[in-house]
Subunit: 152 residues, 2 copies
C-alpha cells in the first residue's frame, strides 16, 4: 500500500483521481480537493444531482456551500458538467463526459413522485414544420414531465 503510494502500481482509485485531475487541468481549472470531490460525485451519480444533494453528500468534507456553487458553475462553464432545470425549479447537474454514455440526452421527471430518469437520445423526435423553429430539431435540451409507470 505504502509502496503503491510511493509510485509503484497505482490503485484503481488513484488512477481515477489522476484522470479527473488531468481532465480538470485540460479544461484550464485547478485540480482542488473540492473540485475533485464534486466531479467524482457527479461522475458516479446515475442521474442529475442538485446542489442540495451535493451539500448533503459532501457534508463532512468541510467544503463550503458557496464553493460548491462556484465549482458547479465553473465546471459547467468549461463544459465538464451540464446544468438543467428539469421543470421543478431546481438546478441539476450531471457529468458531461461523452464516453460512458453521458452524451446530451432527454430527461423525464415524474410530476407525482419527483423521480427523474435519463432517456435515450433517440427516444424523442421533433417534427419539422410551420411554427417550429428549424433549429428545434437540433434541440440542446429536451425535458418531459408526466407520471412514471409506478405513479400512473
Amino acid at each position: 500500500m505504502i509502496a503503491a503510494v510511493k509510485g509503484r502500481h497505482p490503485t484503481p482509485a488513484q488512477s481515477k483521481v489522476a484522470a479527473l485531475r488531468s481532465r480538470l487541468r485540460a479544461s484550464g481549472l485547478r485540480a482542488t480537493p473540492a473540485r475533485l470531490a464534486v466531479l467524482s460525485f457527479l461522475e458516479s451519480a446515475s442521474r442529475p444531482v442538485s446542489h442540495a444533494d451535493l451539500v448533503e453528500a459532501l457534508a463532512d468534507s468541510g467544503i463550503d456551500r458557496v464553493t460548491l456553487y462556484r465549482n458547479l458553475t465553473d465546471l459547467t462553464q468549461v463544459g465538464l458538467v451540464r446544468r438543467a432545470d428539469l421543470g421543478d425549479h431546481v438546478w441539476r447537474f450531471e457529468s458531461a463526459q461523452s464516453k460512458s454514455g453521458h452524451a446530451e440526452h432527454p430527461h423525464f421527471t415524474c410530476v407525482e413522485c419527483g423521480e427523474i430518469a435519463c432517456l435515450s437520445e433517440a427516444s424523442v423526435r421533433i417534427a419539422q414544420g410551420k411554427g417550429i423553429p428549424r433549429s428545434a430539431t437540433r434541440a440542446l435540451e429536451i425535458q418531459i414531465r408526466g407520471l412514471c409507470d409506478r405513479c400512473s
Copy 2:
C-alpha cells in the same frame, strides 16, 4: 345579466368580463378585480407569462405582488391556468382555456435570447421502448431548449 336588465346590449368588453367572471365562479373562485385582471392578461398573452411580467403589466393597478402570487396559484389549482418552468428557473403561466387553441402543448425556449415559442401538440413524438416510462408517451409537459432561428 345587468346589461339585459337595463335593456341595453352589452359592449364586447362587458361581455368578455362577464365571461371571465362566470368562469371564475364556475371554478369556485370569487370574481375579484385582481383575478379578473390576471386572467384577462393571461388570456390576451400570446406566450407564457412570468409573475414578474404580471407585476410589471399591472404595476399601476395597485394590486399587491403577494396577491398576484396567490391569484396565480389559485388559478392554477382550479385548472384555469397552467404553470410551467421552461427550463430557466422562472415559473410561467398561461391560460388553460382549451378553446382558442390553448390546449396543453410543448414549449420551445431559446437558450441565447430567451425567446419562448408555443409549439403545436403534434410537433413532438416520443418513442416507445426500453428505459422509457410507458407513460412518457402520455407526457403532461414537454419543453425543448435550443437556439431559435434568429440566434442560430
